[in-house]
Amino acid sequence: MHLLSKMLILLSIMTALPLAHAAEDRLTLTGSSTVAPLAAEFAKRYESQHPGVRIDVQMGGSSRGINDARMGLADIGMVSRALKPTEQDLTAFVIAMDGIGIILHKSNAVGELSDTQVIDIYTGKIRNWQQVGGVDLPITVVNKAEGRSTLELFLHHFDLKNSQIKAQVVIGDNQQGIKTVSGNRGAIGYVSIGTAEYEEARGTPIKLLPMASQAATVEAIAKGHYPLSRQLNLVVKGIPVGLAENFITFAQSAAVKDLVEAQFFVAP
């Protein structure tokens, strides 16, 4: 009897719960795992300034952000690249910039690679560091997994197809890329510059290579000199209204510049 009454109470609580949610002051964001921690920080600050508002940030990758915004599963999608021509039904709002840099193990003697050399390494034509002026050590090519916007940007910049790349290691997130390269003296990989700069300063044994003779620094991205950079976007279907509009305006305002920098990105 005791158990039964408990179950009844639980059941009534569970059926009453949906009523507690009014949709007016709720916002859901899904998408890129690169943007998610930043957007979550934005959301927290926005919530603290607007009591009663709830902004839920979920992860899942840029493609998911596009898809969910389109299908209406999320109010706002998070996408860590510019929209493609096929995605013009969506409107994008830049909230930050991020650069992609090539990283090697710190002990590697190679200080610069030309675009052709990078292409030859990634397509398997160059297999040893000796061929580009380093020591006799086989090259471990670290590539990103399919669906990552870092991969798309890298391929686009070097005019490559993913099927041409001969990678020994395929990874997902930035941190994983840094961990892989710092643990392998012969490795080459590409990751977000802000992340790599932070790890380098912290003593992780990696080094960033300049790209097209532009030093890979957060500063160079901010100035727009660095060739391999990407936008971090919030996307909505059509025109944003109400809470979504307010939140996007907030995310693009000077009020969140410190948050962008704290996450090692560049304010637009």
Binding site: M14, L17, P18, A20, H21, T28, S33, T34, A36, P37, L38, A40, E41, E47, R54, D56, V57, Q58, M59, G60, L73, G172, D173, N174, Q175, Q176, S192, G194, T195, Y198, E199, R202, A262, Q263, F264
Partner: protein, 277 residues
């Protein structure tokens, strides 16, 4: 001589396993304690989890676990009793149920995550919520729990069943008062396996209970589980390693204490049953 060598070899295997386990544990303990403080357990995460604590995440984890166990344990025990005590030997349905459970036990957790997202979150309209995460985990731990309990019940000697019959006990009271207490170690083992797997789960929760690290206000709120938090900190957040280790430390301690608690609860419950009857 060969025999001696064999014995040494086996000892070597044992030492290797224990040593690697100790290595992992001490790594988590040493790195974790560097970032750990008591306020870490109750405060909210700040700066994408680099500083602050894991208060809301801990609460979400416990809720998800509670939902998963509340759904899986009674159901699982029921299936196990049916399979071992009621299903006719060699009945096709029972055999197929067993095979299905074995296959389900081997399915990777990300598949449960996708199923949970499609079924609980979207089809049943629960969205990203503790409820949908907990029910997804329940589906995940059910097969292992059923199989462990079933084999425990089957291992009880038939003499006990005959003895109960001879004393005129009904089948249900024989199960309740004799067979279940006798199968207690297997039930505990099933619970321990289930709790361990559920608490450490990341993939199945990422798309069901979600990523929100706010204090949950209802079971229909999204809440980040501890394992998801560790994954995010170590893979996604630059400079989040310290907090990730501290969270891992909490996770390890949580699993150990939950297992101890489960063991003592089951022990107590069955001991009382034996004394009363």
């Amino acid at each position: 001589m060969a025999d001696r060598l064999f014995a040494w070899l086996m000892l070597g295997c044992a030492v290797l396993v224990v040593a690697s386990l100790l290595w992992v544990l001490s790594d988590v303990l040493i790195e974790g304690f560097a970032h750990f403080s008591w306020s870490f357990l109750i405060t909210e995460p700040v700066d994408a989890g680099r500083s602050g604590g894991i208060g809301p995440i801990l609460i979400s984890t416990l809720w998800i676990l509670l939902i998963a166990l509340a759904a899986a344990l009674p159901l699982g025990l029921g299936v196990a009793i049916w399979l071992s005590e009621f299903a006719p030997r060699n009945s096709r349905f029972a055999v197929h149920t067993g095979i299905t459970l074995d296959i389900l036990a081997g399915v990777p957790s990300i598949v449960y995550g996708l199923f949970g997202n499609a079924f609980f979150s979207i089809y049943l309209g629960m969205g990203f919520s503790l409820l949908s995460g907990g029910l997804t985990l329940a589906c995940m731990i059910l097969p292992i729990f059923v199989r462990t309990c079933e084999s425990g019940l089957r291992a009880v000697s038939d003499d006990w069943r005959k003895g109960a019959l001879a004393l005129g006990m009904t089948r249900s009271s024989a199960i309740w008062h004799i067979l279940l207490p006798a199968a207690r170690p297997a039930i505990v083992a099933g619970m321990v396996l289930g709790i361990g797997r559920a608490t450490a789960e990341t993939a199945a929760l990422l798309f069901t209970s979600g990523y929100v690290d706010r204090m949950p206000e209802s079971l229909l709120d999204s809440g980040r589980a501890l394992a998801v938090h560790i994954y995010d900190l170590s893979m996604n957040v630059t400079g989040g390693d310290g907090a990730a280790y501290a969270s891992a430390l909490v996770l390890v301690v949580l699993i150990i204490s939950l297992n101890t608690l489960a063991q003592s609860l089951v022990d107590n419950w069955f001991k009382r049953r034996l004394v009363v009857s």
